[in-house]
């Protein structure tokens, strides 16, 4: 099943042309890895999918993005963001308790009952493999957690809203290898129920977890294909060069 269809997408930030004529389809319940050097437009692409780019005053966009058949531009942005969750590069807990962090998205969608919030919090924390580590200190500040725990907290926070898509923006860039492995493991389990789009600077990570891989360079989509194909027989020479570490 196709989750996203991107048609002739162009994005500008002020005078900067940040995304040029991108066309692609993203399948549901798979992991799509997005790789490419810094400033290649990966993050812009990701933030476009849940309309976070619009928080920037200079943002302009042309083209269409269909999400489950519907143009996201016609949808209510808050609804888009509830259905398409996002985990940022740095663990970004909100300055409140662990419980409140996970309950936040549920609360703002109008669930006032503390009991229902608690159920959602436990479920989300279990899915992010964090419940056992924090179940006794849900009321302490989220900033007391370690970096890896904070990142899993952010994943739990996203899951609590019950999205159908999760966007990961270099979620492991600040984590040690063991924490990274835990996050990757979580992603592989999550893809059974969610569509996952993973932006990563770590080419090996893309190879490890991605079903498909897309390669961006200078604001353009160079190639998208099955991960195996991209890493063994890419069509474009630039993809090959990047994967082999010849540049970037």
């Amino acid at each position: 099943m196709v989750e996203f269809v991107v048609k002739d997408l162009n994005i500008w930030f002020g005078p900067i042309h940040a995304m040029k004529n991108v066309n692609m389809e993203i399948d549901s319940r798979q992991i799509l890895s997005v790789i490419g050097p810094a400033n290649s437009g990966k993050t812009t692409f990701l933030r476009m999918l849940n309309r976070l780019n619009e928080l920037n005053d200079n943002f302009r966009m042309k083209g269409e993005v269909l999400f489950a058949g519907e143009n996201i531009g016609d949808m209510d942005p808050e609804t888009v963001r509830k259905k398409i969750g996002m985990v940022f590069a740095l663990p970004l807990p909100l300055p409140m308790s662990i419980f409140d962090n996970v309950a936040y998205g549920v609360k703002v969608s109008g669930v006032g009952s503390r009991k229902r919030q608690a159920e959602a919090v436990e479920k989300a924390l279990r899915r992010a493999y964090l419940w056992d580590e924090v179940k006794d200190r849900l009321e302490t500040s989220a900033f007391k957690l370690s970096g890896g725990q904070q990142q899993r907290l952010c994943i739990a926070r996203t899951l609590a809203v019950e999205p159908s898509v999760i966007l990961f923006d270099e979620p492991c860039s600040g984590l040690d290898p063991i924490s990274t492995a835990k996050v990757e493991e979580a992603m592989l389990v999550l893809k059974k129920d969610y569509t996952i789009i993973l932006v990563t600077n770590n080419v090996k990570q893309a190879a490890r977890v991605g079903d498909k891989t897309a390669f961006f360079l200078s604001s353009e989509l160079i190639e998208i294909d099955n991960t195996e194909r991209i890493f063994t027989a890419p069509k474009d020479k630039r993809t090959d060069d990047y994967i082999r570490g010849k540049f970037g």
Partner: protein
């Protein structure tokens, strides 16, 4: 080597450098002494003001002084109407200025784009802060007393003071709101929270200490000003308590001015006692601001 102009240059520069090389230690000491002395000098006037006023005013302070009305042409009795008047005026100013100041700060920080209107508003705030207080008094007289026909009343005075402290509240609130990291807003929005929910649940709880601090500092300013209330509310001598917001009241700063310069033969105890009460009120407000800031800073979670 001698032919090389660069090395020549260095050679001639060396003696100068050496001469200076001895100085830095001394210079350092001199500079330190100067800077320290200049800083030390700040305590002197503050200390003197407090010592003199406490010394001369404390004997005048009694329960009767604080709770009685002025008697015998303000030469004896208490200053209760003036204390109450100042409390009313400060309270009225805050009721008027805090909502407007806070809401406009939220607008400027969260909603406004960098367009002409925003620049105009910011310019207006700067100008509002720069207007001398006596001009506020005249403005209040023209607008509230005369044009709106509120008369010389608590309402006119409180509104005038409110306008005067608006820029203080807006600037402090704006600073507090903008000190909340942008990433928190982004995280909140990414979870499907609307702009207002983000402000309500994330931005305001993390900037409330700065907002309260700024507001209290504004209040301290409002409590001490004479000029804005001179034409709009302050009564020369009114030994009774106000019945409504359209009544005149006495106020501490103006009362102090009156008994110090306009009424002959007022006992020094009464004058300095009044000053001491005013000073204590303002100091307490500033102290409250400091305490609130410290408490919230300890609670801050990032």
């Amino acid at each position: 080597m001698k032919d090389n102009p660069v090395s020549d240059c260095t050679v001639s520069a060396v003696p100068k450098l050496r001469k200076r090389a001895r100085d830095p230690v001394l210079m350092q000491k001199v500079a330190f002494a100067l800077l320290f002395l200049a800083t030390l000098l700040i305590i002197v006037p503050v200390g003197l003001i407090i010592v003199v006023i406490v010394q001369k005013g404390l004997p005048g302070i009694s329960w009767q002084f604080l709770t009685d009305i002025p008697r015998q042409g303000m030469r004896s009795g208490g200053i209760f109407p003036a204390i109450l008047g100042t409390v009313y005026l400060v309270g009225g100013a805050i009721i008027f200025a805090l909502p407007i100041g806070l809401l406009s700060a939220i607008y400027l920080s969260e909603y406004a784009r960098g367009n002409f209107l925003t620049r105009l508003i910011k310019l207006a705030i700067v100008n509002l802060a720069g207007v001398p207080s006596v001009v506020y008094g005249l403005f209040g007289l023209a607008l509230f007393v005369t044009f709106f026909k509120f008369g010389a009343s608590i309402l006119s005075g409180a509104l005038t003071l409110g306008i005067m402290i608006l820029p203080i509240i807006i600037t402090a609130s704006l600073e507090a709101l903008e000190s909340v990291p942008h990433s928190f807003r982004e995280a909140s929005r990414s979870l499907g929270a609307s702009k207002w929910q983000t402000i309500r649940y994330v931005v305001l709880p993390n900037s409330i200490s700065g907002i309260i601090t700024g507001t209290i500092l504004g209040l301290g300013r409002a409590a001490g000003e004479t000029a804005p209330i001179l034409f709009t509310v302050a009564a020369f001598y009114l030994p009774q308590l106000p019945g409504s917001i359209f009544d005149q009241v006495m106020a501490l700063p103006y009362h102090l001015y009156v008994i110090s310069t306009q009424v002959p033969n007022v006992d020094e105890k009464i004058r300095y006692g009044t000053a001491l009460v005013l000073l204590t009120m303002v100091l307490f407000m500033n102290l409250a601001a400091v305490v609130i800031r410290c408490r919230f800073r300890r609670k801050k979670k990032w």
